[in-house]
């Protein structure tokens, strides 16, 4: 029996709680997200769990619906990064030689851009909004997955059983994805969990700058921005989205750490 670390437990609990909140918000929120329900800046209370915002809307409902964006952006951008990253990384790792050089130097070039800068550039060119922001974050995640996949491929392809498979005429594609890929899945899972956290943070940053989710749809990053002017008089409004972002990012990072620990203790 493997020892399960406390990081893993806490991370899992946080992520599951959030996922629960997100699923519930699909069917139920205490109030509408874009509707005046009381005076502005009401402090947290029984009827308004996180208080109300600058336009008298329920912050808790908005935080709940905001979590949908978080998961959507996280999943889609990690998926984009994973699919293209694994594809490019496995080609580079398996083919080697000049193919490897070309692909990996391209990845290096992409890594040289700070993620948020690339995302800013992308949405400036293709337009504001959550769709473009997600695609940009996905593209930025590619090199990371490509590197992990490539190094895994280089290690595994020298194993005797790969030579064996080759000698009996198994096709290259089958060797790549059936015989090699499953062996490197665990570092990819760890990277995906961490990538999730990065994407969430970046989305919050973009929405904070007004480039991500467009009002009146709620977004944690935008809520932070809106709360900034009233931080001294109504700190609860800033705390709600701030805490949610912190906990989510923390949750996914701990989960990633936890998975890595489990996989290393063999």
């Amino acid at each position: 029996m493997k020892k399960i670390s406390w990081e893993f437990r806490i991370g899992l609990v946080l992520v599951l709680l959030l996922l629960g909140l997100c699923i519930v918000s699909l069917f139920y929120t205490p109030y509408g997200t874009n509707q005046e329900v009381g005076a502005k800046f009401l402090p947290p209370s029984g009827s308004f769990l996180f208080g109300t915002d600058n336009l008298g809307r329920d912050v808790f409902s908005r935080v709940m619906v905001g979590s949908q964006t978080v998961f959507l952006v996280g999943f889609v951008s990690v998926a984009i990064g994973l699919v293209f990253g694994v594809l490019l990384g496995s080609i580079a790792g398996f083919a080697g030689k000049w193919v490897d050089e070309v692909i990996m130097r391209l990845m290096d070039a992409m890594l040289s851009f700070p993620g948020i800068l690339f995302a800013l550039m992308y949405v400036a060119v293709f337009g504001f909004g959550i769709f473009n922001a997600t695609v940009a974050l996905g593209i930025m995640a590619i090199p990371r997955f490509a590197r992990i996949t490539r190094s895994g491929f280089i290690q595994v392809k020298q194993m005797p059983y790969i030579d064996l498979a080759r000698s009996i005429g198994v096709s290259k594609v089958r060797i790549m994805f059936v015989h090699i890929l499953p062996n490197i899945i665990s570092p990819l899972i760890v990277a995906a969990s961490m990538g999730f956290a990065t994407a969430i943070l970046a989305e919050a940053g973009l929405s904070y700058l007004g480039l991500g989710v467009q009002p009146p749809d709620p977004s944690w990053g935008r809520m932070l921005k809106d709360s900034q002017n009233s931080f001294l008089s109504a700190p609860h409004y800033a705390l709600a989205p701030g805490l949610m972002i912190t906990l989510t990012v923390l949750g996914f990072n701990l989960l990633g750490d936890g998975i890595r620990d489990i996989k290393e203790v063999k």
Partner: protein, 503 residues
């Protein structure tokens, strides 16, 4: 031992003196720090266009006339003027003893040179970047007698007197120096400009109007690109005056500060692009007007501190304001739905493009979307950068609807002309021959009362057409230290520091 104590004591004293002085210039009674949001675009008043520049530099420059707090141009460099009966000839008499900040007396030649410059008389006017003042184009200017200037207009122009508030500059200076070391005749003279840091002015002790001399000696306009930083500097005591504080920030001010509040002659609109098919139908525009609850909007985004508008004129401009238009479309969701159904637009949906740097407009758009949803109208909000707003919406006219506001002017014509079909930047594509005719009438009439009649009628036309959805004139709120007195509010963008004093 004693010596050592002395040395330590001196060191401490030195530390206290050197350590503290740079941080606390604001506490002495003879200097004032005002927080402003943006760097001036040009120091040369004939080139500057940004309202943020003018609000500072009106303290330095004067024209033959200058704006007064009630919005009328009053005599400044000119001591008196007469108008001929046909409204074509204006004779200005220069006040005696008005000097520039460099000590040179203002002559009729300076006036003619200055106003010719903004009339586009110089051959290189376009290249030099001078903003041409339309009311002066084609005007003949000549010196009469010793100290008079005669302006002969080609046709009567109602906004001519406002043009006379343009700065008079020293014609003997080199052209380029106006943008480096501006010299004017106002109550304060320019000292230095440190980009992204501050603009410093000091009192001009030879100002012609001894009654209206500046009270505080040194004034610094400190630049804060971020409103939240400006607020914390105010709270820390480094800044004495913070114009345009937001509602949310007021709640965090302690008792040692006061907030001055007043209408600022700003017109906030929901601009509907008439080129968008649905908005060419009057029923649709009326329906939107009925669906919007302006009172609720004002209470939510401005905490009730705004004047409701029904036309393109704020109640502050009493003389020109058409009463009662703000109640033309009382909030009525059912009526809105009926009108939409009648127009065959029951499931109307459109996008409001709003400049993202103006949070106030973004919040307004959010509330509007919520209110319109109740009448079955689907509204999407798209935030755009200010540069893109100008390029795509203002100049490109590629949009469906937008929330924006226009700052006030002294004369109704420059404020209202943007809705004329002949206006070069009629970005709303509103076209009404009746409105155009009345505006033209207002411009050509010479008696102020006749002009008012025409402009009021024009307001009624555009309001009844629902040509534009007029929202509100949000109050200007200025926070200042309690012991700072004498703040004067103008219906234009202007922070008059000459009336301010510490108690």
């Amino acid at each position: 031992m004693k010596k050592r104590i002395l040395v330590v004591g001196l060191l401490l004293a030195a530390f206290l003196i050197f350590g503290c002085t740079p941080q606390t210039p604001a506490t002495s009674k003879d200097s004032l720090v005002v927080a402003v949001p943006q760097d001036p675009d040009f120091l040369d008043p004939h080139k500057a266009e940004a309202a943020g520049t003018k609000e500072i530099m009106y303290n330095v420059f004067e024209g033959l006339l200058k704006p007064s707090p009630d919005g009328k141009p009053v005599e400044a460099i000119a001591s008196a003027y007469t108008v001929s009966d046909d409204g074509l000839q204006y004779t200005f008499t220069l006040r005696e003893g008005v000097t520039f900040h460099n000590g040179k007396e203002v002559t009729p030649e300076d006036v003619i040179w200055s106003y010719s410059r903004i009339a586009g008389a110089g051959e290189d006017a376009q290249e030099s970047g001078v903003m041409i003042v339309a009311a002066l184009v084609g005007t003949k200017m000549e010196k009469v007698g010793e100290n008079q200037v005669l302006f002969t207009l080609s046709e009567p122009k109602g906004d001519f007197l406002e043009a006379m508030t343009s700065a008079v500059l020293d014609s003997s200076l080199e052209e380029a120096s106006h943008n480096v070391e501006p010299v004017g005749t106002g109550p304060y003279k320019f000292v230095s400009y440190n980009p992204t840091q501050s603009i410093k002015l000091t009192r001009f002790d030879e100002y012609w109007n001894k009654e209206k001399m500046g009270k505080v000696k040194d004034v610094e306009f400190r630049l804060f690109s971020d409103n939240a930083t400006a607020l914390s500097s105010l709270l820390a005591g480094e800044v004495d005056l913070l114009p345009r504080i937001t509602m949310d920030q007021i709640d965090s001010l302690p008792d040692t500060f006061e907030v001055f509040e007043g209408p600022q002659n700003m017109i906030q609109i929901l601009g509907l692009n008439h080129a968008f098919p649905a908005f060419s139908k009057q029923e649709v525009r009326e329906a939107i007007n009925y669906a919007i609850d302006k009172d609720a909007l004002i209470s939510r985004v401005a905490d009730g501190k705004a004047a409701k508008l029904g036309s393109n004129m704020s109640p502050v401009m009493e003389f020109w304001y058409h009463d009662g238009l703000d109640d033309l479309y009382p909030h009525n969701v059912d009526k809105a739905k009926e009108l939409l159904a009648a127009a065959g637009e029951s499931d109307l949906s459109f996008t409001i493009s709003v400049p993202s740097n103006y949070e106030f407009h973004v919040h307004t758009a959010e509330v509007l979307a919520e209110q319109l949803a109740k009448a079955g109208i689907t509204v999407k909000i798209e935030q755009v950068e200010w540069g893109i707003w100008l390029e795509r919406i203002y100049f490109g006219e590629e949009y469906e609807a937008t929330v924006i506001s226009f700052v006030g002017k002294l004369d109704p014509h420059p404020m209202m002309q943007r809705y004329m079909s002949t206006y070069p930047q009629n970005f709303l594509n509103y076209e009404s021959p009746e409105y155009d005719r009345l505006m033209e009438e207002g411009l050509r009439a010479t008696a102020a009362a006749d002009r008012a009649v025409a402009y009021k009628a024009a307001q009624e036309v555009i309001a009844k057409d629902s040509g534009v959805i007029f929202l509100m004139d949000p109050s200007l709120m200025t926070a200042h230290k309690k012991n700072l007195k004498g703040y004067t509010l103008y219906p234009i963008y202007f922070q008059d520091v000459s009336t301010l004093y510490f108690e």
